[in-house]
Symmetry: none
Subunit: 249 residues, 2 copies
DNA sequence: GAGTGGTCTAGACCACGGT
DNA sequence: CCGTGGTCTAGACCACTCA
């Protein structure tokens, strides 16, 4: 792999160093790094700023630069978990917990906008980044729209969105998502590797393909210490209804 | 006003230039600006990066730097708590818990982008809808930018955003917000009228006025049982960083 | 006081876009 | 082609933290 920019190269090498040292560790100084990698200090600083933006490191004026346990920002776009993690320089994977197919009752059929009485594929996975549990996901998909798909297809590094495109010719075009805070139950905390009673975000996402058909409903629990939602906000335009807003159940 | 960093000073002067030239206009080149302001090109670049992050300018490699056109299709809006509640048919109000002014230390001054050592107004309120506590808010505002404002001005049905406009001629133009899940401490739960240990959302919002000046930093705890973020999501646009959407407490 | 990150300078070369 | 932004260097001084 060729790094066009030296700062990107330095960035990657420092990120590797971070992984080696572990969270909380202090990195060598900028001058030391610039010597070690044979680049100027300005380049090292640019690389560190990149890692800063990615929340990999934390800098304290006068003290040093430290490896951070990153809170992963949740982009409010329909990116797959894998793409999301890779963009942060983390290696995504999945651990399949269980899967089955059930017959949709009226409520589930309604949510998936499918006929009642038909089969629904359910897959429960732990999603990991660099081997560390990040979210606990349960996927619901109308079996008619993804014929032949099983839970095993979604093990390891497989991406549901990729499979949707390559096997079924379906592309995600839109979706809605809600987010609420929850306190983790013991078994959930256990699967996520955090203490029970920790805070988490509960995402519920419904996605549609190019035909407007619902192809997934995902309920996902994300560790509160590793997930952070960031958004830009704009003032309301007069007369416009909000495209999105806080709601009260 | 003294700008400690020369890049901040340059930033402000270029922002003024942008306002003068109008949307779509091409700015002078970086070398030209560095000569005009008597700073190095690196400093100009740093200033431009700041304006880039604030979406004031847009740079095109090989072409130039341009004043950004009014944002297209901003998917999301910053409404005040009061407007938000009224839209849901609820009657908003506030209960003032305490207020004071403090001298900004370096960290706070940095967050508010104001000179260190100056005064900051802090106001802590419980926000209610139909008399029921919804959020617990702590507002921070640079006193210089809202002279004479006190906590009492924000009691009852008063809206900070309204006051900003009517008394100080400042309109919210942009902002950023982050959201994380937390577990409520006993005293927080008490103020919100929920059991301790309940889940909540912690919003941290920074808003700017038409001059690009920070006019508030608000930390707000929203009851997890009454607040839910809902958003539309779109597939990622190639190359685009997430300009994301969401909701406000 | 020694070492850290934060800022700035004055120069260089490269990659890209329009004419 | 020329002017633009993008990257990089080698050095300097300042502000901060911590032993």
């Amino acid at each position: 792999m060729v790094a066009a920019r030296r700062s990107t190269e330095v960035s990657a090498r420092v990120a590797a160093l971070c992984a080696e040292l572990g969270p909380g560790a202090m990195l060598p100084g900028e001058r030391e790094l610039s010597g070690r990698f044979g680049v100027s200090r300005a380049t090292v600083r640019k690389a560190l700023e990149e890692l800063m933006a990615r929340r990999v490191v934390e800098r304290r004026h006068g003290a040093g630069t430290f490896v951070r346990r990153p809170a992963v920002a949740q982009p409010l776009m329909a990116t797959s978990f894998g793409d999301d993690m890779r963009r942060r320089g983390l290696e995504p994977s999945s651990r399949l917990l269980w899967w089955d197919t059930v017959v949709a009752d009226t409520e589930l059929a309604g949510r998936l906008e499918m006929p009642g009485g038909e089969a629904v594929l359910r897959v429960c996975r732990v999603r990991l980044a660099d081997g560390e549990p990040m979210t606990l996901e349960t996927l619901h998909a109308p079996a008619e729209r993804v014929p032949g798909l099983t839970g095993e297809d979604l093990e390891g590094a497989a991406s549901y969105y990729d499979i949707l495109v390559t096997r079924f010719g379906r592309r995600i075009r839109s979706g809605t998502q809600s987010v609420a805070p929850v306190v983790l139950e013991a078994h959930e905390a256990d699967l996520l590797g955090v203490p029970p009673g920790d805070a988490a975000l509960r995402f519920v996402r419904t996605s549609r393909d190019q035909h407007g058909e619902v192809v997934e409903r995902v309920e996902s629990l994300a560790r509160g210490d590793r997930y952070l939602i960031e958004m830009d906000i704009m003032p309301p335009r007069d007369g416009a209804e909000p495209v999105s807003s806080g709601a009260m159940p």
